[in-house]
Symmetry: none
Subunit: 209 residues, 4 copies
DNA sequence: CATGAATGAGCGTTCATTCAT
DNA sequence: CATGAATGAACGCTCATTCAT
């Protein structure tokens, strides 16, 4: 195993454990055991437990960021279509990174680590800017209404998705998809959630003559 | 201070600390110090740290439950009016109990304690039943559409509120309410959030001819 | 064993170990083992290893201080007699507290702990004041010469004693006192050292007409 | 940098750190960092931390030894002149090697490393022999008294110097030499200490008719 | 009923050292 | 010849819990 691979490997196992047991509920010993590395390696690679967490955030945050600037500037796509693409992008990221998303949620609730708070506010800003840009474009083109509360809009999307992730298994059972494979279920879930959010956004954005 | 008062006092301080630092991030010592009681008192009263947490959930859950059965049966109020009352009730509870709501959120993410999971699923069931009852009534009366995904609906409400609570201070600043008192801000927030959710619910529920 | 007795007991064992292996060379585990107490008790009683050290210094320093103010004011005793009494007092304290004296020596060399440095400078000041008072009295009475370097004088006493303590066993062997008991040897050593230092002080202080 | 230079460089940095923080208080990591060499280099060059310490002692001890045998045999210089030269030689070495002298002091107090103890007793023997030779010469020439306690004499010198080194900065301030450069102060200190010790030696050695 | 004292287990971290390259 | 990576052991300390009083 190469150096960066071990790095990645430790981080992945830490992510899993942090998601399942929380940051404070997970010991370095557990992480080392799960990653099949020596206990001292974790501090050796990351410096400390705290810095491992921060490294995880740095890594994942770069993946979570929505990089669709070119799309937003595209004049051939309508604002509503762009909204839909944005929602789909967001959903893909969150559903693919559920472990991390849970960790982030707890960090948002507790706000203990300032470095991590910065990461989180950065990504929130990233989302907000995407949405704001879109909203302004739509308003200029008279397809979106005025007086749109962007933060409420954003929180409706992120909140709904959060709750669906947290209650994922209950929802699966509720919809009799217990026997379906994870990937199939996730695809289905993404479609359903996407449609739901798009519908809400349409209502909240649509220009009323 | 009477015994039950001490009980309550310890639980309140524990709630505050669990919300701010997480269950594992909070030590019994801290709770005892914050509550100005002897360290051994906590285990003495509640048995263990885990049981203190469970006692907290038991206590708070009974407060969080929506007890509006009589209202739901009231034939003089329209389904949409009932939906609005339900949303207002929910908002009041959550905004009044933000500490506890944060704790619950982390427990939902981590799902470590089975007793607590039961409490949470109980309250979810409670909400679901309220909403289902309402939805069915509205459908019978042909004011609500068919094919309503109750869980999606519920999660949209709880999720949006969750996100707004987590980003409370950012939203406050965003709306230039930094100087407003907490209680005034919370009243304002409740109104705004309520209107927002009611609007979404209306769209998602309203019968389309 | 009573509470304060355990305190004292732990401190004594710590003193022994610190003297033999140095502060950093001694682990809390060793101290706990030597004192036959639980490892956690040390931190429980003293807060930390550092504070244990400081508590030891606080305790011992109060014993080491020369409390002979009344004697110094006594008009019926000549300055030279007072010098001799002072030297005897100092010798008694150091020979009785050799473990502690060694610890102090290393702390003086390394100057890491500021709290301890304060303790040490306090006791140095205590000695210096005793000697200065005496010297001034002797000078006024024209039995001591002028231009006496008090610090050099003091360091000659403390330094000579230090070296004799450090080379105690070599000196014992050198003087064929290997078979003598510790207490007898110490009495003998004290006499010899006392005479030596008194002689030096006499030369350095005596008024030259 | 050549190999022997690296050797020397590491040893110098180790000496500095050992003096300031003690042997156990200094980690190989710190030494490597201070010497700007790879962590593994230290063990690689010296075998172990302990052997580095011993190598340091071996190196410094050879420098500390008084090599004035030819002078001692010189018939044209009086015993008292030789005593003075001996004292000056000793002072020069100690003042030039204060870091090492502090390390040695702690090792003398703790007596943990047997190899180092041997080095220390060797140098003590070296000093003792110089002084003994001188004393015997002086006694034969009837300029020194009989019954001279060589070890007490020696410890008076080494002890006084030790204390002056340990309290160097206090003494500097006491004599208002705070603004003076280190080298000027050291020269001044050496002169003053030399005179003081020579005076004491004269008293303790001089033949009394 | 209440509590100071005590305990064994485990925490995050650092240590001196080794070894493959 | 030199070094980054790795390791087992130990570090100081805090944990939740228990128990005698």
């Amino acid at each position: 195993m190469r150096n960066t691979e071990k790095h990645t490997h430790i981080m992945e196992k830490a992510e899993e454990l942090f998601a399942a047991k929380g940051y404070d509920g997970t010991s370095i010993r557990e992480i080392a055991r799960a990653a099949h590395v020596n206990l001292a390696m974790v501090s050796y690679y990351f410096g400390s437990k705290e810095k491992l967490m921060e490294a995880l955030f740095k890594e994942r945050m770069s993946l979570m960021k929505l990089k669709i600037e070119s799309l937003l500037k595209n004049e051939n796509i309508s604002p509503f279509q762009k909204v839909e693409i944005l929602i789909d992008e967001y959903l893909t990221k969150v559903i693919d990174r559920q472990f991390f998303y849970k960790i982030m949620l707890c960090e948002m609730a507790q706000q203990k680590n300032k470095v991590i708070l910065k990461f989180i506010s950065d990504i929130k800003l990233n989302y907000a800017n995407m949405i704001r840009g879109l909203v302004e474009e739509g308003q200029q083109k008279k397809v979106f209404k005025k007086d749109i509360d962007i933060m409420l809009l954003m929180n409706t999307m992120t909140g709904t998705v959060t709750q669906m992730i947290l209650n994922k298994e209950v929802y699966r059972e509720f919809n009799s998809l217990k026997k379906t494979s994870d990937s199939v279920y996730h695809t289905w879930l993404k479609k359903r959630l996407g449609d739901h959010i798009k519908k809400i956004f349409k209502t909240l954005l649509e220009y009323e003559s």
